[in-house]
């Protein structure tokens, strides 16, 4: 039987997952293997060097570079305060001395005998990494971070913005093809993760921001609305560092597109549960998709995806991910081996797909996405 590899987003009711929680620089791991953690437990922390300031002491004091070291009134690594006199010229017969004051609170790092530059460092900045989702610590990476074992629902989106957040799942629409409106959101949604339907207008997104909603999940969104939120056109899909106060996860794509049935139903099933959302996306080699994780202990069928699950074959459920049938769901009827010429005259490996209405059409395999659940 013919088969083909295809990408697919995970929409799983109950799956084990491992989250690597790593510091950007070496630091301290604060938990031990076997510890139970909640989403906001800090598992590792470190300090990154503070911002630096450089001052050309030679120029400021009007002395030769070689004389700078002798003019310094503070020692390397000594703590200093803003406005503190840190260097002084010898002056003329002890008079007409020029003084130099520290521009920052921090410490004196060093001074160059070639350039006359002195380097001052602001206090280190603390960086903390939390567990993101409830679970147990599986592994410690000494000085770097941990791996958290978790179990529950995992729902990936296609693109997100706004980094990590947590909150209770709440549905704000009745169906997956409903366009959410402003009046559907109110104070009761503050601090929660709201599930919308097929489309999120820009004004509803900004209203959600104003209400202090932590996360919002929707089928489709406009590219120009995304540009308005970010303040620039997203040229490459690498996101996560935006400071918006809310995380957004788009499940299907740009435009008005009904949320996939499996995705919407899963959110409905877990309404009221506490979840973690991460809008970070990286569509490059080593792709990272946005995700919602809903830890639970319910005794429902557990799925662990294998590489073979990415192979489509006859009867596989698939979704079309490019025009002219974008968003349509169907099943694979056959995977013909020869290349087939498309309307564009592109020669492509294709699949014959039977849509829910019964129509059978030919689609390039590259334009299909496996429905994984």
């Amino acid at each position: 039987m013919a088969q083909s590899y295809t990408p697919g987003l995970k929409v799983l009711a109950n799956t084990p997952s491992e989250k690597v929680r790593q510091l950007p620089l070496k630091g301290e791991v604060l938990v031990e293997v076997g510890d139970s953690v909640s989403a906001d437990t800090v598992v590792a922390s470190t300090h990154i060097p503070g911002n630096v300031q450089m001052l050309n002491v030679a120029r400021q004091l009007n002395v030769e570079v070689e004389a700078v070291a002798g003019c310094m009134l503070v020692k390397v690594d000594e703590k200093i305060q803003k406005g503190q006199v840190i260097a002084e010229s010898k002056g003329l017969f002890g008079y007409f001395k020029t003084q130099l004051k520290s521009p920052i609170d921090g410490s004196f790092a060093n001074v160059s005998n070639i350039t006359g530059q002195a380097l001052f460092s602001e206090p280190p900045i603390a960086i903390e990494v939390d567990a993101f989702t409830a679970g147990t610590i599986k592994e410690i990476m000494p000085q770097e971070g941990v791996i958290v074992n978790s179990k529950g629902a995992l729902i990936q989106g296609i693109l997100g913005i706004g980094g990590e957040s947590h909150g209770q799942i709440v549905l704000a629409v009745d169906s997956r093809d409903e366009v959410i409106t402003k009046d559907k959101l109110n104070d009761s949604h503050t601090g929660k993760i709201v599930i919308a339907g097929s489309y999120l207008p820009l004004d509803v997104f900004t209203h959600a921001q104003t209400l202090g909603i932590n996360g919002i999940v929707v089928g489709g969104f406009d590219y120009d609305a995304l540009s308005s939120i970010l303040g620039y056109n997203l040229g490459v899909a690498v996101t996560g560092s935006e400071e918006l106060g809310i995380s957004l996860m788009i499940t299907e794509g740009f435009g008005e597109i009904a949320m996939a049935e499996g995705t919407f139903n899963l959110f409905k099933e877990f309404e009221g549960k506490f979840a973690s959302i991460n809008g970070s996306t990286q569509i490059r080699a080593g792709v990272i998709r946005p995700e919602v994780m809903i830890p639970h202990t319910e005794d429902i069928y557990s799925t662990e995806l294998k590489e073979s699950d990415m192979i489509i074959s006859e009867n596989s459920p698939v979704r079309v991910i490019r025009a002219p049938y974008f968003g349509k769901v169907g099943t694979v009827v056959s995977l013909p081996a020869p290349l087939v010429q498309m309307e564009s005259e592109t020669m492509a490996r294709v699949a014959e797909i039977k849509f829910e209405g019964g129509d059978i059409v030919t689609i390039p395999r590259a334009n299909l996405e496996m429905i994984l659940h």
């Binding site: 990154i48 300031q53 530059q117 740009f254 590259a366």
Partner: protein, 604 residues
């Protein structure tokens, strides 16, 4: 592993290119004393989980070669070498851009001088230059420190000052690096490789500052005097460190390095090698372009000087929205022969960005992709022209006393009238359903002037041939010319101001079986079908126009056809303009499409 190979005994060559998503393999065999491409295979690259070993993808791509060729190359997981009968290969070589390629920062004292030289060295070695630090780049110290910490490059090339000159400026840059204490992008357990290629008098001071905290290597100055640029020692060291550090961090590469008979090269570095070889062999000026999903590389050789630029975010899938942002919607829309809803267009293009591996099924989708490709190519070439400048041009300015204040660079080396050959590569060009489409995309975006030959890379194998050229030049050049390069034909385009309705060009071409002659009016294109043979021809430019011999001067020459033919382009150069009125624009685009057999005519 040895890069000294006895060329006489080489009959079977295998090469792979480990791309970010696909590993491509080719098999070259000596047939009747000539090297020819015989088979090609591919498999997904396996640097990500669950495999995390690049050699898995390489083995899969080799196995596809075995299936297609009937040749037994592998014995278990070992490559059989040398070849014997239907078994094994004589050489195995590879390139790689997996893991995002080689990402570098470079530094120089004066941005337009040593900074630019350092950039040229890094780009020529196949790197992506993330930022250029310079004493005069306008940023404050702490801003530079912050930037270095943010970017986390794979490697830094630091240059600055001429030999024997003042040391303080370059030492100041080293102090910025020292303060930043940069960490490499891949792996937090090793020191960042830094190459110092600046003023030799400052070497000790640089070692003092960076010797402990980085993995510092000192090479010859990139700019020993104002008049001289010495890029090769830095480029060689970049390649060495790429192998030792960056590649060694990528999963499975240590094993792969043990398999190859020559050092693994960064993919763009290898493409640059082949472009240079072709220019040198035929003594011609060449522009090459490789348009990928994330980046577009442009290579040129003019006046025997090689330049490469990489437009890191001008590509056809991962960065397609950036093309739209940089080009603007009207510039993309000007190539589309119908009216478009702006919101619908941007959503459609953005959907390609988030699902980058999809392909255009409808003709409408193909036209939009090719419209964007024209703009990605145009913008990349604009960037290349700005960067590929003549060092001699700046020499006079830079020898006057206060060099630090000099900011202007030389004249661009890129002279389209002097261009002999324009070569396109990358999916949107190599895999365009009709070669006429690749021809039109190349002409519309690069706007060649006078008489220019056009070609495309048949299946994107320039990287493998590039690395092959370093160990077996004859094989690389033969395969490049016979199997890689598809001659599209020639473009004839007069340059200069013209009036509507004016005769742009009068032509007389002696085709193998007939003589064709006629006139091309302003705004017209005519395609004359001619395979890849040379024909004598006479071209007379219209009043006030130039075809390369000067204004109003005719040209008698031999012109080559190709799989498309000779395209006589009367749309003008300097200026070249597309009508802005919607109705006229659509009419003209349709007329040009029809004249060049670009698209099937029955559908939109």
């Amino acid at each position: 592993m040895s890069n000294k190979i006895n060329g006489d005994n080489i009959n079977v060559i295998m090469a792979t290119d480990c791309g970010s998503t696909t590993t491509k393999s080719i098999l070259i065999q000596k047939i009747d004393d000539e090297y020819r491409l015989t088979h090609r295979g591919e498999a997904p690259t396996t640097v990500e989980a669950p495999f995390e070993d690049v050699t898995r993808g390489v083995l899969n791509a080799i196995m596809e070669l075995e299936e297609l060729s009937g040749r037994t190359i592998l014995k278990g997981e070992d490559i059989q070498s040398p070849a014997s009968g239907d078994d094994g290969v004589d050489i195995y070589i590879s390139t790689s851009s997996a893991g995002g390629g080689l990402q570098m920062m470079v530094g120089g004292v004066v941005k337009s001088m040593t900074g630019e030289s350092a950039q040229r060295a890094a780009l020529g070695a196949g790197a992506i230059v993330m930022d250029v630090l310079a004493s005069n780049d306008g940023r404050l110290y702490h801003e530079k420190v912050k930037r270095i910490r943010q970017l986390r490059p794979d490697m830094i090339l630091l240059s600055g000052g001429i030999d024997g000159g003042t040391v303080s400026h370059v030492v100041e840059l080293a102090e910025v690096l020292e303060a930043a204490n940069p960490k490499p992008r891949l792996g937090i357990n090793y020191k960042l490789p830094v190459i110092y290629a600046g003023n030799n008098n400052a070497q000790d001071a640089i070692k003092e500052r960076l010797g402990e905290i980085t993995d510092l290597t000192v090479v010859d100055n990139i700019r020993p005097t104002l008049e001289e640029e010495n890029l090769q020692p830095s480029r060689d060291k970049i390649h060495d460190l790429f192998m030792e550090h960056v590649m060694a961090q990528a999963p499975g590469y240590k094993k792969l390095m043990g398999w190859t008979d020559a050092p693994i090269m960064p993919t763009p570095g290898a493409v640059g090698e082949i472009i240079q070889k072709i220019a040198k062999q035929d003594n011609i000026s060449v522009v090459g372009v490789d348009i990928g999903g994330a980046t577009t590389d442009v290579f040129s050789v003019f006046e025997n000087q090689f330049n490469r630029t990489v437009s890191a975010n001008l590509g056809m899938s991962y960065s397609i929205c950036n093309v739209l942002a940089e080009a603007s919607i009207p510039n993309v829309a000007r190539w589309v022969p119908y009216e478009m809803d702006e919101k619908g267009l941007t959503n459609r293009i953005a959907n390609k960005m988030i699902r980058p591996t999809t392909i255009p099924q409808s003709l409408e989708a193909l036209k939009i992709e090719q419209a964007i490709a024209r703009e990605a190519l145009r913008l990349s070439f604009e960037q290349h022209k700005e960067f590929a400048v003549n060092l001699k041009g700046v020499q006079q300015e830079r020898t006057i006393s206060d060099t630090f204040e000099q900011s202007s660079s030389g004249e661009t080396l890129v002279n389209m009238m002097d261009l002999d050959l324009l070569v396109g590569s990358g999916g949107v060009l190599s895999h365009a359903p009709r070669r006429e489409q690749a021809t039109r995309m190349l002409i519309d975006s690069f706007l060649p002037e006078g008489i220019t030959r056009l070609a495309v890379d048949s299946i994107f194998m320039m990287p493998q041939l590039g690395v092959l050229s370093t160990v077996h030049e004859k094989a690389a050049v033969e395969v490049f010319e016979k199997d890689c390069l598809i001659e599209l034909g020639s473009c004839v385009a007069p340059v200069g101001k013209f009036k509507d309705g004016q005769v742009m060009l009068t032509y007389e071409i002696n085709l193998p079986n007939e003589k064709v002659m006629g006139e091309i009016l302003a705004g017209q294109i005519k395609l004359i079908t001619l395979e890849y043979v040379g024909c004598s021809a006479v071209f007379i430019p219209g009043n006030g126009l130039d075809l390369g011999n000067g204004k109003n001067e005719s040209i008698q020459t031999e012109i080559h056809g190709g799989v498309v033919g000779i395209l006589l382009d009367g749309r003008g150069r300097q200026p070249f303009a597309i009508p802005t009125d919607m109705h006229t624009r659509v009419e003209k685009l349709s007329e040009w499409s029809l004249a060049t057999n670009e698209y099937p005519q029955e559908a939109k």
